[in-house]
Amino acid sequence: MSDVLLEVRDLRVHFPTADGVVKAVDGVSFTVERGHTLGVVGESGSGKSITFLTVMGLINRKSAIVSGEVLFEGRNLLEATNDELRHIRGDRIGMIFQDPMTSMHPMYRVGDQIAEAILAHRSVSKGDARARAVEALRLVGIPAPEQRARQYPHEFSGGMRQRAMIAMALVLDPDLLIADEPTTALDVTVQAQILEVIDELKQRLNIGVALISHSLATVADVSQDVMVMYAGRPIEQGTRDQVFTAPLHPYALGLLSSVPRVDRRVERLVPIEGSPPSLIHVPSGCAFHPRCPYRFAPCDTERPDLRDRGGGHADACHLSVDQKAANRRERLDMQEPVA
């Protein structure tokens, strides 16, 4: 069996609206492997969440035009019926969301909500399902899981709720976990717990994880593979080390040199100018060109394709690799840490 769990090829998700077509996702390809975490980084409106909601079949198919392929264990989920998708969701692919406060039904007990996921996919008794729900809560490190299972979500703290969500997503031993900004709404010390839990379970259960985040640092800490998205397209892909030590795309480089770090201080941050573009009026050529300090002749007319620059490290930019290396050195000079 191949290690590739999920392969997405040239996915496009367009929403026609009264004001124009919103090209939320516009040509995304990537793979998620078993035992690996793919970190997906992007700002709001970069299309990272929509990409994975589409993978899960959770966007309204009537309001969107979807094309491309979403191959999960060889099957194209875009061609699956609603019923087939339903059997994959929760059972083969689990998903957790940004806000654990609103992601659980407020009127049902936590244990019952987890048991409900089991009962939807397995023909077991309610009692067995409840027992497995308790076990799942134990697995994610919730103390006194028997009592906790009988409580309601509002009796849980934020971190506990996100753990319960992970328990719900993993209770049926899926192959793939999609975590959409799982730590954004949480406190820093709790974020660390949640990332730890996800990482530990990934190894223990040997699953693939897609971790979506707006935070480069979060992704850098726990991912093996990284995809950086901008305006609905991936602009850089590679292993974690490739992307973080030698970023190719000016946007990735810009992000890395504009985010203040906790482990060292630099004299000057180099901000990226301008704002992320509207998805209705995406700039011509390279979508990043209006904000790019290195733009030149073809950038505003020709859209660069994602190209492999060696060792699986790819980016979508017209600049030469040498030019990028020079840019990087220049940036790093500016960013000499202050003692």
Binding site: M56, L58, N82, R86, H87, I88, R89, G90, D91, G94, M95, F97, D99, T102, S103, M104, H105, P106, M107, Y108, E116, A117, A120, H121, Y152, H154, E155, M165, M168, A169
Partner: protein, 321 residues
């Protein structure tokens, strides 16, 4: 919980006192002229007026009368407990007639409520699920029609069609269930329908709005991500939150309607509380007005208490506050 209920009941007492006080002010202090004059016959002599005053207790000052009223309400009077006195108009005890008329009104409200829930909730839910469809637009258009149509006009129109023209129904008035169940039903069906259509329209609009709000909640997305069937998502996850607020709405409506079916009762000639109240108010028949007002105030407060308790049972977030 117990303390909460006690506090709410105390609040009810306060409301009843305030409402009766207001009633006293409106019927005694505000009008000019002597109410005793109205009950002293066609050619009142000063002696007769004085006599009437004494017999009705109108010779005392208004605060004294009010005090007496409250005292009798709590301790009872010659007609038993609670002391509601006798009607100025008929000189009969208020209580037995109150009970009899309350039966009519309660029959009207309960039948109507069952109908409007049976119509309003499904229509609201289906409209929300098929949002934007022809079905949704037709049902919401119809709902807006019934929200806008005056109840008395609908009542008269339905009487005209089903009674006068088609002859399907026997006419107006109330027949007790005990004397003839068939006649009871055929006399009540139109009032029920007319009352229910207005409320069904309101409820359908509210339920639809709630459901549409619920559908965009994060936890519905979670339910879908768990791989639940659409049917289960609608029935267990959306309906639960979508319909819970209806409980509060229903309780308030039921309470207020105890004194609020005046128009329906008038159109269909039902001898209920509303009808009684209308006549009593127009005739300055204070004991009757007060008795109905007290009943309504208690009903409103109790129903809203019941609603809050039910809500706490249905919504665990409220329970633990």
């Amino acid at each position: 919980m117990g303390r909460y209920i006690i506090r709410r009941l105390l609040w009810t007492v306060l409301v009843v006192v305030l409402v009766t006080l207001l009633t006293f002010v409106i019927f005694f202090v505000m009008p000019k002229g002597d109410p005793a004059l109205r009950f002293a016959g066609k050619s009142p002599t000063p002696e007769l007026i004085q006599e009437v005053k004494e017999s009705l207790g109108l010779d005392k000052s208004v605060p004294e009368q009010y005090g007496l009223f409250l005292e009798r309400l709590v301790t009872g009077d010659e007609y038993g407990w609670p002391g509601l006195g006798k009607s100025f108009q008929t000189k009969q005890a208020v209580k037995p007639e109150l009970v009899q008329r309350a039966q009519v009104t309660i029959t009207l409200i309960i039948g109507g409520a069952l109908l409007w829930l049976a119509i309003g909730i499904p229509v609201g839910v289906i409209s929300a699920l098929r949002r934007g469809s022809a079905l949704d637009r037709i049902s919401m258009g119809t709902a807006l029609f019934f929200v806008s149509a005056p109840v008395f006009w609908l009542g008269l129109l339905s009487l005209y069609v089903f009674w006068k023209k088609l002859g399907w129904l026997p006419g107006t008035g109330y027949v007790s269930f005990g004397s003839d169940p068939g006649a009871w039903f055929s006399h009540m069906i139109l009032p029920w329908m007319v009352l229910a259509l207005l409320f069904a329209a309101i409820y359908a609009r509210v339920v639809r709005g709630n459901m549409i709000d619920v559908m965009t909640e994060d936890y519905i997305r979670t339910a879908r991500a768990k791989g639940l069937s659409e049917r289960r998502i609608v029935l267990k996850h959306e309906l639960r939150t979508g319909i819970t607020p209806v409980i509060t709405l229903l309780a308030i409506d039921l309470g207020v309607l105890v004194g609020g079916t005046i128009v329906t009762e008038t159109v269909f000639n039902l001898q209920g509380l509303g009808n009684w109240l209308l006549v009593a108010a127009q005739n300055n028949d204070l004991p009757v007005t007060l008795a109905v007002t007290v009943l309504v105030a208690i009903a409103v407060s109790l129903f809203s208490l019941i609603a809050d308790i039910l809500y706490a049972i249905l919504d665990p977030r409220v329970r633990y506050q």
